[in-house]
Subunit: 222 residues, 2 copies
Amino acid sequence: MQLPQPIPRATTSDAVATRVRHLIITAALAPGERINEVRLSVHLGVSRTPLREALNRLAAEGALTSVTNHGYFVRPLTLDEFEQVYAIRPLLDPEALRLAGLPAARRLTRLKALNRKLADTTTADDAIAADDAWHLELLADCPNRVLVELIEGLMQRTRRYELALMRETRQVLRATDDHDQVHKALADGDLERACAALEHNLQSGRAPIVDWLTARQTKTEG
Amino acid sequence: MQLPQPIPRATTSDAVATRVRHLIITAALAPGERINEVRLSVHLGVSRTPLREALNRLAAEGALTSVTNHGYFVRPLTLDEFEQVYAIRPLLDPEALRLAGLPAARRLTRLKALNRKLADTTTADDAIAADDAWHLELLADCPNRVLVELIEGLMQRTRRYELALMRETRQVLRATDDHDQVHKALADGDLERACAALEHNLQSGRAPIVDWLTARQTKTEG
DNA sequence: CATCTTGTAACTGTATACAGTATGCAGCTG
DNA sequence: CAGCTGCATACTGTATACAGTTACAAGATG
């Protein structure tokens, strides 16, 4: 008998990773902050071992950096990293959509529903979750799962920036119109136009965050 | 005084990760094999803790998979994964080269030297190392380091396949001619032609490995 | 004889204990 | 008083111990 495909992974490490990831994304663990393993492990009610495994993974994801004998630090939000990470998805997502091909009617319906949900969100958290859900639904038929996983990783890496912007400036990033452009192109059966619209969408969030980061950076410099 | 940029990381975990990565790449740990943590830790002369941290990282890199209460398995070589991973670099590398721009004369000289070195290699190991070195030198000026790191990760992920092919079929993948095409385009100051040549190079290694994998797959099925 | 049961061994996941290294302060020295 | 030195403390990195789960096999049962 073959091993089952699904990988359960219901271990404490995973739960801890999820929780700590959330702490980082929501800035409960502030950018630049040094992580005290003992304190955090006590706070989470687990021992240091699973915590360290989680921290390790988060470091691999790019949310933390680690320095020998100094421990883990929450990666600060920098303009450089943001621009670099943000520049990559426009290379990947359109290709993934191309590979996925035109969606079935059923999927297009779902996409529109998700977009309405996005329009109705009230909190930054929900907005970003809905946006990510829309993008993943769009690529659900993409046969290159490695590519999609890569995209998911990049999503998580930019999430902190988007959340921080929305939290600190009370600005809201709404991509519903962009998404509608993609819907229209897909409904017309024009995959290339959809890809172009998607690429535009993936770049449209950039400017406000860059502005905010540069403002913040020059402020902290002075 | 500011902390120094370089992150030393001279810990046992890292050493172990490197060693285990090598064991996997060279198939000393065979594809599909289950990893016995106790045995391996004894073999490496360390305790289970740093070994597990290393295994965790390798799982994040995609060389291992982990199943709860069953442990880590060396990821088998599959046609699907190979095709998916291999399809990504042609999306990333040309863009990275575009961002890097035309290389200075000095760098072009180095690239040619590395390519000669590649031509002179005798073992599969050396060939792949030299090839990777050439590609990284080509992107040395790329300001998007995140992009380059992504590319490095993909390199490591395909390395196993290339090595396995060379080992099992005694076939040698030589990309020196492809690289020369890139050199010529760069010397002509034609960045786009260089990108096109690079993209071709990144796809030219695909066919032999696909052939070998399909042959192997149908063989093991029967 | 096939099938289920049960007990044991092996292994992973987690907690704890220990060792080595950095940090910060008190006291000394010039 | 500035700067260095040495010690105490805190924290990370590693090893070991313990707990829970799975796999396997011998024996019981129809």
